[in-house]
Amino acid sequence: MYPADFDYVRATSAQEAVDLLAQNADSVLLAGGHSLIPMLKLRLTHPARLIDIGRVDEIRGVCEKDSTLRVGSLTTHNEIASSEIVQSQCRFLAEAAGKIGDPQVRNKGTIGGNIAHADPASDLPAVLVAVGATVHLLGPDGNRSIAAGDFFTGLLTTAKAPGEIITEIEIPACCEEGFGCAYLKVEHPASGYAVCGAAARVKMDGGTCAAASLAFNGVTPVVFNAWSDGSPLAGGPADDAAIDAAIDELAIDEPMGDIHASGEYRVALARAYGKRALKAARDRS
């Protein structure tokens, strides 16, 4: 299985990658290659040129600044899962990254490639939506930012323009006093991709829930943000009965169904794992 022929060029900075993209419209960025190379091999895509950003160190790594986490787009799943900053500041992102595929995949795949590819069975989108992350992009007209909730627009489709590169993902410090979060996943036994992944974040103030967010991977063609207009748990006790009731009332329309799992089954998984993820997040708060 060989990809069709293409030209190859290596970018040394994010700006150079943008300039190279502008030169030739039939170019695509290559990061870890763990979504792109399989697509090239299957000849589902055949760009004239690959622009390898794999060595652009300025967009790689995790740091903490002004109580936000900044994750470079080229940071690998393994680097995220094993980062002490991510583990302590955004535990469910570390959990989700650590559940991707297998160790070899996590050594190559990057967060930028994962969200740019926007596979509905990916693990990172729901976490980024639930935590309220911001995606930073660089394009021919300079920098721009998009809320994660607006970034994923459809199956394998995002709000990123073709000439743009994702530089960084900004995440509000999530594990502060009172906050708890959890990512739970039912994985496909062969590929490891999410059949259903539930990302939950809960803020408790004494015995009262101050806020809660919940998003799912793998259930609908684009990451499903359960409570974009505010959680029904807010203002209540967020005990098991309240969580069960809130999830039982949740409408999950137009789920995906395929040979691995029917839409009905995915919704049933989402309800079960949504409840468990919320309870785990509450217990960690």
């Binding site: 030209d7 190859y8 290659g33 399989p38 091999k41 595929g101 297998d102 160790p103 995949v105 050594n107």
Partner: protein, 155 residues
């Protein structure tokens, strides 16, 4: 259009011109003649093609040779020193960690990545580290035993 790459494989430097679309595993096997690294699924699922690139286990069927320019690579051929088996190779022999042997180079390279990070892993950690490697013969028990034995007797 060929691209010139420089890389180190098992301690030896190579300079070659490659087609950008050439997969790293075929570069190793066909260009350098290092056929110890196997190709099973070719779709990043079986792990037979696992090698270390700059110390990290990766699947060489899902990396382009051009991406490895400037890298240092270790394949199964690079593990033995002066004719002595690496502790993992010896343990796979001693514990019957292989039957047909097709998965073995990949299993050993994935285990080598684990043991260099954690010299005394638990059985669960060994199984997690080998999650990306399939074996159709052994049923895995002896593979896990081999890795545990290599860790205990370790280098």
């Amino acid at each position: 259009m060929g691209v010139r790459i420089n890389l180190e494989v098992n301690g030896e430097s190579y300079e070659r011109e490659v087609e950008p679309r050439q997969l790293l595993v075929y570069f190793l096997r066909e260009e350098l003649g290092l056929t110890g690294t196997n190709v099973g699924c070719e779709t990043s699922l079986c792990g037979a093609c696992t090698i270390l690139v700059d110390g990290q286990a990766i699947k060489a069927c899902t990396q382009l040779a051009v991406q490895a320019d400037g890298s240092s690579i270790t394949t199964i051929e690079g593990l033995a020193t002066n004719g002595d088996y690496h502790p993992l190779q010896q343990a796979f022999w001693d514990c019957h960690g292989l039957q047909c042997g097709f998965c073995t180079p990949g299993m050993i390279m994935a285990a080598a990545d684990l043991l260099q990070r954690d010299s005394s892993p638990s059985e669960t950690e060994v199984r997690q580290a080998l999650k990306g490697n399939l074996c159709r013969c052994t049923g895995y028990h002896n593979i896990v035993r081999s890795v545990m034995t290599a860790a205990e007797g370790g280098s």
